[in-house]
Amino acid sequence: MLVSLLKGWNGKILRVDLGRGKAVIQEYSSDFALQFLGGRGFAIKILWDELPIGVNPLSPLNKLILAAGPLTGLTVVSTGKLVVASKSPLTGGYGDGNLGSNAAIQLRKSGFDAIVIEGASDKPTYLYIENGKVEFNDAKDLWGLTTFETEEKLKKVHGGDCGVLSIGPAGENIVKFATITSQEGRSGGRPGMGAVMGSKNLKAIVLRGTQSIPVHDEEKLNLLGSEASKSILKAEGYDFWIRQGTMATIEWCQVNSTLPTYNFREGVFDYAKEVDGYAMESVKKLRRGCPNCVMTCGNVIEDYEKKFSELDYENVAMLSSNIGLGDIRKVGVLNRLCDELGLDTISMGNSLGFVMEASEKKLIGEKVEWGDFDAAKSLIIDTAYRRGLGDFIAEGVKRMSEKIGGESMDWAMHVKGLEISAYDCHTAPAMALAYGTSPIGAHHKDAWIISWEVRTGRFDYSEGKVDKLIELQRIRGGMFESLVACRFPWIELGLSVDWYPKFLEAATGVTMTFDDIFMVADRIYTLIRAFWVREYGANWGRHMDIPPARWFKEPLTKGPLAGQKLKWDEWNRMLDMYYDKRGWDYNGVPRKSTLRKLGLEFTINVLEGLVKLSE
């Protein structure tokens, strides 16, 4: 059955071949929709099916997927998002990210649920896609521009109501953690999705759609969407959220000793008050957000250079405490530069912290001191253009540490090559497990469990924590990343997750219980894991899921939790429990019985040729 018989999904994927300059429309089956839902689920199935094993992520054979979900573009709160995914040039495994953008809405209104971009253009190109018609346009005049400039120029040509996704100089120069950016600060694809776009000579994608998206029960969906919006607006803490958004997390992490400080050496920062939500409020100018959202999480400040910079917790923490910089307006400059140049702020902050520590320990010749704003600013620009030390930084902390060698690998803060998001884990064992088992490398979006750890007892390594982690991964990494809905209404303002199966039913006519949704989530997780194992082959092992040695070896020296560090044996027991509950073996490789149970039999023959599969 074709998916067009269902509602909610458009049932079509647009396939764009940059090498041949051709595009075709592909219909997909309802089985595909029901087994993978959308977003991340669609992306991993397409990448598994279509990428040659071991493909170079920067070769024309790699594919870039843009995937919306069955709620995208509908009258449901905080669903103006899409997933960008590919084989990652940073990690060599599966990479994805989501970003809120009008491009997501326009993609769906163009009649598609996803775009698969394959091949590579022989010259700078941008795509203009309107209702299924694809133009391959010359981007010679755009090449070299920042993401802000690119979007402004393209909107002058194609109108302000179109959606634009673009890369900056970082993507053009194949910085391994270059992102795809939209709307001056909405970025996605931390594991180098911008570099994949750059490798294809693709500067931007412009989307416009005027079609209506098929909905099963529009009246009901509108009613549910309206009720959920009202519930958010009435939620306890909504006013404070509008004031500070995620920036309130600086103070929260400082109090809980989880604020990444000096390359994750410490969990508290002496100058936290200079960069927290209250400091941000003192220079705040306006709020911005994604389409279809009443939470508008982007806090825009006037930065040290009197330009606007959109801040949130992750980028501020990584570009302030983690590099020892205690001035919110200067942090704003670093953040804006990253957005303009198309650099991931989390990886950039990690990389700067790594270089500052390497400089302090005289492991590199260059002098880069903690908190040196001018040096940090220059290095961000040099990274985007791959100049001098910036060329070294552009490879990310894993490769930098492999080059420096020795003890530097203990404090290269990454898992699987992806730099760690802004939460120190000396005192958060389950969060360290969340980073270890995140399907793209060390990222927080799949499971942020620190709040639960603080509430229930942070120093134990219990089975309850493993269960909670898997529950969060199923909801956040499975349901939200495949419906491609923002998790903020739920996690920040308490909107019940029970709304989401109702939204899905009204949109598609498909009734799914949480058991059904979690089955989809487990299928997606295990297929992503199978992809990693396939790409790493004999080099895959348990070591791929282990967080940095720093958290096990070097205790905190400051704050109320000074002296604390992770316990190696206990943490590994949690990892064993995690694998067992997932149906994976000692090395984190899915068992055959698990693959069968999840409908992933098609992976067994492939994996058996590469690694030993347990029954």
Binding site: E236, W448, V454
Partner: protein, 73 residues
């Protein structure tokens, strides 16, 4: 004196980020803090840096920290 530290939106229920309250006798957290029922399931309570509840008993020299349940972005 019991020291109360409040974060985020919870400061409005305490009247500031840090306050001190004199107790004549040990009391439950819920008898000291006036937080409406609809907000209570979104609150993390620590008593002397250990997990607590609205029913935890506190006395002079104890520190109560209340912070929102957040999702970490």
């Amino acid at each position: 004196m019991v020291k109360i530290i409040a974060l985020g939106f919870l400061t409005k229920y305490v009247g500031g980020s840090v306050i001190e309250v004199k107790l004549d006798s040990p009391k439950r957290v819920r008898d000291i803090l006036d937080i409406p029922p609809e907000a209570q399931n979104r609150v993390i309570i620590l008593v002397n840096n250990s997990p607590g509840t609205f029913d935890s008993i506190v006395d002079d020299d104890d520190t109560i920290t209340i912070m929102p349940v957040i999702g970490g972005g």
